[in-house]
């Protein structure tokens, strides 16, 4: 089995990988469906069961969406791949800024962020200008945005408004653009197979988040204290460690599809999981500050469609850290 897979061409290997992943998702969906059929005599227990199923369904949907996007990205070729991730950034930033208190004076800065910074950053990825790509937003845009805002002649909450805009750009554009950038890293003896690296990152981070979520739910039922209850009821150190270990172990197991040996894969997964899960916590703090449970703003319905940011924030934080540690360690 392993030999057969090994002898396939890279393209066939990637195809086989997607078949396997879609198969696993289907199995998970089937299992969930069967579990949802269970009946309970006690209505309270039944409600609890339903909530749990709803939660898991949500997670499964996210996974489907992510894998599907990556599949399309792989099929579509370089340019459309960038466009796809660019659109992801666009919708995530739209969501982020909807709930940030920008004023009329920020209009030009917003135009700059959406229609200049975003396309340019992805253009830099596409043309593999790695040096400029890593400093363009933290150095140049960092100055350009407040200059444009200052010229709008409105000092009210200036720092707050700009900080939020900068933050949105960092997370939604800078972080996100590191995901397709992974496709362009040139590891020795790893030709054409960078799609695996992308899948590796997504699987590892998503596994970490799912495990953390499931363990946290169990621990919450046992009334274990959260680490920062005002920010997140479900962030419990023990659950976090479980997620980290699960993600990293999966990473080590998947070393075969990466250019890394198992030890390196373990370490890099550990770093990516740490960045992703802690980044998710940070985003939760941000949401609490705005007084909303999820970005979609359910119940208040400020933002309408979306909830995109909830799904990709861990990846947005994990991708740059993963990218740069891999690049630094392998001297690429």
């Amino acid at each position: 089995m392993y030999q057969t897979l090994k002898n396939l061409t890279p393209a066939q290997q990637i195809g086989a990988m997607f078949v396997i992943v879609f198969g696993l998702l289907l199995l998970a969906g089937l299992a969930l469906f069967l579990r949802s059929m269970r009946e309970f005599a006690d209505p309270q227990r039944a409600q609890q069961h339903r909530d749990e199923i709803d939660n898991l369904t949500q997670l499964l949907k996210t996974s489907w969406l992510l894998v599907f996007v990556f599949w399309v990205a792989w099929l579509a070729g370089d340019v459309s791949r960038l466009v796809l991730f660019g659109l992801g950034s666009f919708f995530a930033l739209r969501e982020f800024l909807t709930l940030s208190p920008t004023r009329r004076g920020d209009h030009r800065s917003l135009v700059l962020a959406f229609f200049v910074v975003l396309p340019f950053q992805y253009w830099l990825v596409g043309t593999a200008h790695f040096n400029l790509f890593t400093v363009f937003i933290p150095v140049y845009v960092f100055l350009a945005i407040p200059v444009v805002s200052a010229l709008a002649n409105d000092p009210t909450h200036f720092l707050e408004r700009n900080a939020k805009l900068q933050w949105g750009i960092m997370v939604c554009i800078y972080g996100m653009s590191h995901v397709p950038a992974l496709l362009l890293l040139k590891f020795p003896r790893y030709d054409q197979r960078n799609a695996f690296l992308l899948l590796f990152l997504v699987l590892v981070v998503q596994t970490c988040m799912v495990t953390q979520h499931l363990v946290a739910r169990r621990l919450m039922q046992l009334n274990k204290p959260a680490a920062a209850p005002l920010v997140s009821q479900s962030f419990i150190w023990r659950a976090w460690w479980s997620g980290m270990v699960a993600g990293s172990l999966l990473g080590a197991l998947l070393a075969g599809i990466t250019p890394f040996v198992p030890g390196q894969a373990f370490a890099l997964s550990f770093i990516a999981c740490g960045a992703g899960s802690l980044g998710h916590l940070v985003m939760k703090a941000l949401k609490r500050d705005r007084g909303i449970p999820i970005w979609r703003g359910e119940g208040r319905g400020v933002t309408g469609a979306g909830g995109m940011l909830d799904r990709i924030d861990a990846l947005c934080f994990a991708a740059p850290v993963f990218f740069h540690s891999a690049r630094w360690y392998f001297g690429l």
């Binding site: 930033l93 969501e95 209009h107 400020v302």
Partner: protein
Amino acid sequence: MKKLVLNWAAVAMSYFLLGLIRVLTGSQARWWGCPPKAEQRIYFANHQSHADLVMIWAALPRELRHSVRAVAARDYWTKTPFKHWLTSAVFNVIYVSRERHADEDPLEPLIDAMHAGDSLILFPEGTRGFADEPQAFKAGLYNLAIKFPQVELVPAWINNVQRVMPKGEVVPVPVLCSVTFGAPMHVQDGEERHAFLQRARDAVIALRNV
């Protein structure tokens, strides 16, 4: 032939605008107080941006878009041939003139449309406001409601659109927006004009926080 081409252009334009407004704003309709129905109604909403017209038009279901007609100021929307074409061929608006002439009723085009069975979208502030809360409502809404007592009056709150394109800017930015439709209301027996307009305005403002 020319008419056919213009017709196609109008259809293409409406799809383009719908796509654009979805990408920019998500164009979310929230039917909070009533379901969308093909019965004669007067929708009235806050007015902060020219995009309000497009926004509420895009938020309506496709089946209603033809029979629900917005009311727009003639002097502004017929200034250039393009604006004129856009508002008449694409949005099918009803023009009202803002300057009063002694011998004509400014509501006459609206009354004609109501008699023809169309629904209306009114911005009773009369002009765009820039404060957080809408300005005082003008009497047109009350007069129409008295004239057509059987027609439901549906308040609507358009959220966030002023952030998409503030006055004086040409490039819109993407921000999620929504239109919230409230519960239908009527003029109560013997209700005074001022009291009714105040109540209508409160109903619009109340939708901000649902």
